[in-house]
């Protein structure tokens, strides 16, 4: 019984017809492009929040689903990215573009430092070290009043004129999300992505066919950190404020849930999970004080009946039907 290597799912790589996938994506994008036309402002804002979270969850899934690493504190890189934008724009006179470019780089750098220690550990030990080191970053952000403004966070972060209306923010986040997703998708389909799956399935074997597993995992960790940093930029665009709670572990736990909810096996799974969770927490929160209870019960049902996640489940059905049609 080896719990050292997380074996996350039975059949972790859903096969999906590329054209069908592209078709769905294209329709989705067109719908999203038109959405602000018939949505009220609030829902436009909410969708922009979903985009931010979706990117965060997808970046986590590179490490979690593809790399099989129990990364428990991804929110740190998200927070670091957001804080980088906030600090650069409010404490320096550098242009906004610099802040935006710097954010993912700083996030990736922090990921490199944390990852460097963590990739030497396995399973839950890996997870706990990400947690401990991530909390350390949180504590630093929380305490370093002079730089981060402590618990108050930084508000009214100045953004360029063209990004002040909610609709323009919406399109900006959508654009960045789509570009990031395309890059992430290319990465998962690249030799790097294939080898990442291989290291997840069987690290020992990967090592013996000549892959430096630790370095490979570290690279994945840093890439994930980089894109979490971009998600942090999106967060600032949408909210124009940051607070240390972004880097608190419970935030990361939510992202983890999104991934599981949507399904780790499918590239789009975490995004679906992000959408569901963000909307759920808002909408259920409107109707009942006990929305956490509702969320908990939903999660419970999900775990008991759809352990492969929603999209994972749909993929399974799809694959089965394909297999049948394909015959033997």
């Amino acid at each position: 019984m080896s719990t050292n290597n997380l074996k996350l799912i039975e059949n972790p790589k859903g096969k999906f017809n590329t054209y069908l996938g592209l078709g769905i994506a294209a329709v989705g994008i067109i719908v999203l492009l038109l959405a602000p036309g018939f949505l009220t402002q609030y829902y436009v804002y909410l969708l922009a929040t979903v985009f931010t979270t979706a990117l965060l969850a997808t970046s986590l899934n590179l490490v979690l689903g593809y790399g099989g690493l129990l990364h428990l504190h991804h929110g740190v890189f998200f927070g670091v990215g957001a804080y980088t934008v906030a600090i650069v724009t409010t404490k320096t006179s550098w242009p906004f573009a610099v802040a935006v470019l710097l954010a993912p780089l700083v996030a990736a750098l922090i990921a490199l430092v944390i990852g460097w220690f963590c990739v030497r550990l396995r399973g839950l030990y890996f997870g706990m070290l990400t947690l401990a080191l991530g909390q350390l970053v949180w504590a630093i952000v929380y305490r370093w009043n002079a730089l981060t403004n402590g618990d108050n966070g930084i508000h009214a972060i100045p953004v360029p004129e063209f990004l002040t209306s909610i609709n323009s923010v919406y399109y900006a986040t959508l654009l960045i999300l789509v570009i990031s997703l395309i890059i992430l998708y290319i990465i998962t389909e690249s030799p790097f992505g294939l080898m990442l799956l291989a290291t997840r399935d069987n690290p020992v074997r990967s090592e013996s066919v000549g892959v430096n597993v630790k370095r490979h995992r570290l690279t994945a960790f840093v890439i994930a950190g980089f894109f979490a940093g971009i998600a942090g930029v999106l967060f600032v665009l949408v909210e124009r404020s940051v607070a240390p709670s972004l880097l608190f572990w419970s935030e990361s736990a939510e992202v983890l849930i999104m991934c599981l909810m949507g399904g780790l096996t499918v590239f789009m799974g975490p995004m679906l999970g992000a959408g569901i969770l963000v909307l759920l927490s808002m909408v259920v929160g409107l109707y009942t004080e006990y929305w956490l209870l509702v969320l908990g019960l939903l999660l419970l049902l999900l775990v008991l009946f759809l352990p492969q996640g929603i999209l994972g489940y749909l993929m399974e059905i799809y694959n089965k039907s394909q297999d049948k049609r394909g015959g033997n």
Binding site: P191, F192, D201, R205, S206, S208, V209, G210, H216
Partner: protein, 245 residues
Amino acid sequence: MLQVEQLKKSFDGFQAISDANLLVPKGEVVAVIGPNGAGKSTLFNLITGHLQADSGHIRFQGKEITSMAPYKICHRGMARSFQLINIFSSLTVFENVQASVIAKHRLDQNFFRPAKKLFIEETLEILDSFELFDFKDRSCSALSYGDQKVLEIAIALGSKPELLLLDEPTAGMSSEETRRIVNLIKHLSREKGLTILLTEHDMELVFDVAQKIMVLHQGKTIAQGLPQDIRNDKSVQNAYLGETG
């Protein structure tokens, strides 16, 4: 090609390898035999860097590789299969071998080329020579035990090694399948000029393919030499052959 000297390894006080010595000449098939628990797999793990030796030396192509990381040893031209099936369970058969080929070409850290289009020829060639071509798009967990064992070797070959280590390649295989492996080993050795180091409990196979045999007993090399010498060695008969009848 490969030289092991006075190797020692213990686990929590248990001396699994107490004094292993081995010489593998280039181009030959060498077999390591010994009873269960003699330390054969441990020896393999030490050679390929999956375990760190307590003391002793391992030299490969004249260079010290003792306790080097497995991936570095692989880069130097050594590949192995495992006693228990050890493949990439979620990948297709094709991808299993392709992953190994990609790593061989050091493209494992490449982000932007679609993996689907890489080294197709090379991978298919290997699959073909292992009679796995027809299964290439199957998930490898759907293969039969025998085919998985073959795939196990195919993955090792993906890294184009000069020295191939096979840990009980026919364990749990039927007689036809065993014959298939024997032929494969012979083919690799004669036509591809590979140096092969293997362990086996199947003496018939060992005496059929091996040009040299090393006997490991309780972590010690008790004999090393030509097959006929080993067959007649008293201590070997006592420790190992005697028992299996």
